[in-house]
Symmetry: C2
Subunit: 370 residues, 2 copies
């Protein structure tokens, strides 16, 4: 049965394509003026802390395209190596490079690059295979321009989400409202990702209580960013103001969610006078509007804890499978959550993402055309 779910096609909610040469690779999508502007500083900023892995790279070595270029840069190779080999029905692409525009304090630079990345993937990737879907990147440094960008390319048939790298401003803040308005209008969910959390930039996201001193500590603390932003979204009433807005917290884990749901509800019982715009339990907003991806699959001390956590977080509704291909720690469908009941697997590996990304009518059309 489990095999059959994978056979019928899995939706992969978090895949990272790459542009060779960073900004250099975007040249065809930049005006001459902007090409000159970036001339001599084509590299996107890197951070001094690197994952201290045995192989000293954060990329699967076997994901490097045989025809050259960096891992994730060849759509034809990814088509074979990821989509065909693992029977991925749709892969939602989000560009880590595009998200790195968060490192530019200059909003014009960030906005221009995000736009060029979007045009690059729309032109160089989406036509290659209808299974490729795109989360367009926007630069939160200029929310008005970001909203324009969402309206410019957000109606493309294979654009299914808005990838929103965060500033050190929590998501409940009205700074982001133009982006939310445009995303809601275009029916596109938002994707958060631990971009900007790895440190080393002037604009890096802050963690609680101080500055982590090692990468392992920083990586352990990534979920703080998701927790903080969910609390902010809920209590500042974003889902009241934008009732159709949906948010995916990708690659932040999920075992922290029970605590957050319960603490929010408990606090709401005590402090609701402060937030009269919140008229139902905060956990309800999360369950209705927020989803999480599975990768990296968590490894509890005992395997039974996984099903307990899944029940606590309503995983049959809130979780979406992702590979995080081509990263070093990626998960594949055939080896992830093998002991889950089929009904839950169907939801996590397919149905939740189909609904979240609005792919259901597309799936029906394809079935009917067969």
């Amino acid at each position: 049965m489990t095999e059959s779910i994978i056979r019928s096609g899995v939706i992969d909610a978090d895949v990272h394509p790459w542009v060779n040469g960073d900004i250099k690779g975007l040249k065809p999508y930049l005006s001459t003026a902007w090409q000159n502007h970036f001339d001599g500083r084509y590299s996107l900023p890197d951070h001094p802390l690197r994952p201290p892995l045995a192989k000293s790279t954060s990329i699967r070595l076997d994901a490097v395209p045989p025809k050259g270029g960096v891992a994730g840069s060849d759509p034809y190779f990814m088509k074979e190596d990821l989509l065909d080999q693992h029977n991925i029905k749709y892969a939602v692409l989000t560009s880590i490079q595009a998200a790195k525009t968060i490192c530019f304090p200059n909003p014009n630079e960030a906005t221009t690059l995000a736009r060029a990345f979007n045009d690059y993937f729309i032109n160089e990737w989406l036509p290659i295979d209808p299974r490729f879907k795109l989360g367009i990147a926007v630069a939160a440094q200029d929310p008005i321009e970001a909203a324009k960008e969402i309206r410019r390319v957000g109606t493309h048939r294979s654009v299914v989400a808005v990838f929103l790298p965060l500033l050190n401003i929590l998501m409940g803040n009205s700074h982001y409202y133009p982006i939310y308005e445009a995303a809601e209008e275009c029916g596109l969910p938002l994707i958060l990702h631990p971009t900007g959390t790895e440190g080393g930039f002037a604009t890096s996201l802050q963690f609680a209580g101080g500055v982590p001193s090692t990468y392992i500590e920083r990586h352990t603390s990534f979920p703080q960013i998701a927790m903080a932003n969910l609390a902010s979204l809920v209590f500042d009433g974003v889902f009241v103001r934008f009732p159709k807005l949906k948010v995916l917290a990708a690659e932040f884990g999920y075992s922290w969610l029970p605590h957050l749901l319960w603490r929010m509800d408990q606090n709401w019982k005590q402090f609701r006078r402060e937030v009269p715009w919140i008229q139902k339990e905060p956990s309800q907003f999360v369950l209705e509007h927020v989803r999480m991806t599975t990768q990296p699959a968590e490894e509890p001390e005992k395997s039974k804890y996984l099903m307990q956590i899944f029940e606590m977080i309503h995983a049959e509704k809130t979780l979406m499978f992702s590979t995080d291909y081509p990263h070093w720690d990626n998960d594949f469908p055939s080896t992830t959550f093998r002991s889950l009941p089929d009904s839950m697997k169907q939801k996590i590996f397919h149905d939740n993402a189909a609904e979240f990304f609005g792919l259901e009518s597309m799936i029906r059309e394809e079935l009917e055309s067969k």
Copy 2:
């Protein structure tokens, strides 16, 4: 059976006594020079965000002493109202006011006030009843002076811990090492508490991802401070360098711990090259060195989740009962965790704290003298 545990005496790991008049009340414990220094600014700083409770106070109204003064300020009334009434064998006192010295960027002011608070409680409270135990406060702004203070009063028979309000410096940082060295030498565990998290001071602790805009959101995010500091303590090797050091995360909740333990261990498997001084699973350091208090008791969506979480966090070892008296949301022994198995209740309501605070020999002596 449960009744018998309470009858034999409970240890309360987090109780807050108060000094009427803030700094004014400390006058007998300040030199004339320091009295003059603080003259006209006796009030400790407050924060603009207050718990938006129906009663507009964070104190139990019935905890206000009948003879006058603020709640928690009369040791004779607390003796009756808390110790006698709820059969508390020992109550570990930590002063929120003393912790507020964290708000003074001037280390001399903070150090002086912490010392005066310690002398106040040692003189005005500890002699009243041997059930009162004290967590002496130290000012982390000057760790050398803090270490001296620990050595000055840390050997008092009823001093059982060091209350360490945190700066915006994570606990793994060597800034705090003189404090750890003195605490270890005196056999005193450290107590962390959400002091400095409520916002509004120049020195308020930062949260992940930005500045929360409401009290309810900030309160929801308090546990980030505990999570961040446990990861910092573990990965920076504090428990390797100070193998006898113990840490209590008081009033931060506990349902977030499974996630933290698993993520730390998973990351250690992948990134251990970066932290060669960590020679065993990070979760083992937490289970050996870190404890948490129960208050505020968490309220999961289904009551069965509580026992599942307790199993995941090894609650029979890591949890210690606390009332948080005289705060608005305090828990009492007879109404908390009523469905727990007796063996676990014995650990949580008594044994864990007896071991953690080094009270076992005192308990034996008292039993023998009866």
